[in-house]
């Protein structure tokens, strides 16, 4: 069951403020990193919704994000529709894609679910990779950013864009946290805990799991919009299964089923990558070692482990006082 504890709220605000300050004072390169973190954090939060709360480990979230980015690209760069409604439509397309994939794959669990989502993701990747109209493996350019000039905000500058990306992280987190502590999230946790019993008490679990994939797809769609607007170019690589795999690593690194963990994981992952790649091309080894350490320590992830220590200390303090 999800609880938005005060600690989680504090960590969320602290992390976002730190990233904003980094973007403001860190120059162009820092802003690029902040946007990269934002995209990965939102994608990881969306995976946490299904994997952490619903027990559905998905390898198609990169593809869901890509469906959103490509829908945005088609509507704006290809067909010339305005950016804002196109983005809304693209996020909707991602949610629909997620729901459809979910509705079909929810009949399976465990490794079969992982493989089924992998298949859907790779199908979407192949369709776009083979499509000349969509640019094939050359990708598609000319995706616009939003025009907020009327408000005096120049979105083509790096700082406003980085702050906009952080704002979307906050919105996605709040949306995910809200839904996870609503009836919808409670039901999802119940299905994760004991799906046959949920059916026995009257829940159509396949439909609910499909809905969860849809909601998760909506969040992944937001990440797709930022990814498309960031370098204003998209390629099929965005849909490849390794993108989902990397985001899944981030979720586990940060703490599965905590929502804030994936954000911490995204920060740790991107910073490690950029710091270490200055010294060695084999930075993946270090990330791998950190991942192994977190998994062996109980699989709670970086944030989950800290929360675990805090509750243990609190319990010990309470026992001493008693």
């Amino acid at each position: 069951m999800f609880h938005q504890t005060p600690t989680r709220s504090i960590v969320l605000v602290f992390a976002l403020v730190a990233l904003a300050l980094y973007a403001i004072y860190g120059g162009y390169f820092a802003r690029e990193i902040v946007v990269e973190i934002a995209i990965l954090a939102i994608l990881a939060i969306s995976i946490d919704v299904v994997a952490g709360f619903g027990g559905m480990v998905s390898l198609c979230h990169g593809a869901i994000m890509g469906v959103s980015a490509y829908t945005y690209g088609i509507l704006t760069a290809k067909l010339g529709y305005p950016a804002l409604p196109s983005a809304v439509a693209a996020i909707g397309a991602a949610a629909v894609f997620g729901t459809v994939v979910g509705w079909i794959t929810a009949r399976t669990t465990g490794i079969y679910f992982i493989m089924a989502t992998l298949a859907f993701g790779q199908m979407a990747y192949t369709v776009i990779f083979k499509s000349r109209w969509l640019g094939g493996d050359d990708g598609m350019g000319g995706l616009p950013r939003f025009d907020f000039d009327w408000a005096g905000i120049a979105m083509n500058k790096s700082l406003p864009f980085a702050l906009y990306a952080l704002l979307l992280v906050l919105l996605c987190y709040v949306a995910a946290a809200w839904v996870m502590r609503s009836a919808f999230g409670r039901t999802l946790c119940g299905i994760h805990s004991n799906e046959p019993r949920m059916r026995a008490i009257g829940v159509s679990t396949i439909i609910h799991r499909a809905r969860a994939m849809g909601f998760s797809g909506l969040l992944a769609g937001v990440a797709g919009i930022i990814a498309g607007q960031h370098i204003q170019y998209i390629s099929p690589e965005l849909l490849f299964w390794t993108v989902s795999g990397e985001a899944l690593i981030v979720v586990i690194l940060g703490g599965l089923g905590t929502l804030i963990g994936p954000m911490i994981g995204a920060i740790a992952f991107v910073l490690l990558k950029h710091e270490l790649s200055g010294y060695t091309d084999h930075w993946h080894i270090v990330v791998g070692l950190v991942l192994i350490a977190t998994v062996l320590a109980g699989g709670r992830g970086l944030y989950g482990q800290i929360e675990h220590w805090m509750t243990r200390r609190k319990a010990r303090g309470a026992a001493q006082n008693a």
Binding site: S182, C189, G190, R197, R199, I201, G202, V203
Partner: protein, 248 residues
């Protein structure tokens, strides 16, 4: 209320349920007796839809539910407890009951409102907890609860859905005499209009609570009657009570 009509189930060549027919009136307490392997639990699985029958029909209030899924039947008011505990192991007692109450009241997909804070859900949870005497243990994690308490919760989950027809599969299996007495009281305190079908091995309990008794053997109904008729019946004595009376 419940009309089971020529229900049969075969796993390959093995006929587990043979032409089972019986009727339950609303508010009736029916106990199903039968030796191990008589097909009692299979009958329950067929009634709630966890197994599909090879032949026959099940009617609830005159409508056939044979084509319905497990969750649809549950929403019709069928609720069961299991012979082996089937709980939400990583949650608390309250969370277990709340999931059941919320599901039965259709409060499962609100995006903004929390079903755990809903008044209607809370009322059903408190009511169920009271019935199975778990009011003081609501915030205990299931993992930390005793076996007996888990048995109570097993029935509590089924009750939290406020069913019309309650199916209990050996609610007292594996618990001690004091807890059997507790279940006895529980059965007596259930709302009168609730129809109850129980698989039970404890004879005192079975004969005391039952309005009628159905005896299964090798998947067949071999006897149906009041507790007094059951006691005196030679067929029942032979296949079932015979052993029991020698033991006693």
């Amino acid at each position: 209320m419940l009309d089971v009509h020529n229900l049969s189930k075969a796993f390959g060549g093995l006929q587990v349920t043979r032409n089972v027919s019986f009727k339950l009136e609303q508010g009736e307490r029916r106990v199903i007796l039968g030796p191990n392997g008589a097909g009692k639990t299979t009958l329950f699985n067929l009634l709630v839809g966890e197994l599909k029958p090879t032949a026959g029909d099940i009617l609830v209030g005159g409508t056939s539910i044979s084509g319905m899924s497990v969750s649809q039947r549950s929403r019709m008011g069928l609720s069961r407890s299991y012979q082996k505990n089937n709980l939400f192991e990583d949650l608390t007692v309250r969370e277990n009951l709340t999931l059941a109450a919320a599901a039965a009241q259709g409060k499962i997909a609100w995006l903004v409102k929390d079903s755990f804070r809903d008044r209607g859900v809370k009322e059903a949870v408190e009511e169920a907890a009271e019935l199975v005497s778990l009011t003081d243990l609501l915030d205990t994690p299931v993992k930390a609860a005793s076996y007996g308490n888990r048995r109570q919760l097993e029935v509590g989950i089924a009750l939290a859905t406020r069913p019309k027809l309650l199916l209990m599969d050996e609610p007292t299996s594996g618990v001690g005499p004091s807890m059997i007495e507790g279940f006895h009281r529980l059965l007596k305190s259930l709302p009168e209009e609730l129809t109850v079908l129980i698989i039970e091995h404890d004879m005192d309990l079975a004969f005391d609570v039952a309005d009628r008794i159905t005896v299964l053997n090798f998947g067949e109904v071999v006897f149906e009657g009041t507790p007094d008729e059951t006691r005196g019946n030679p067929v029942v004595r032979d296949i079932y009570l015979g052993d029991w009376q020698q033991d006693a």
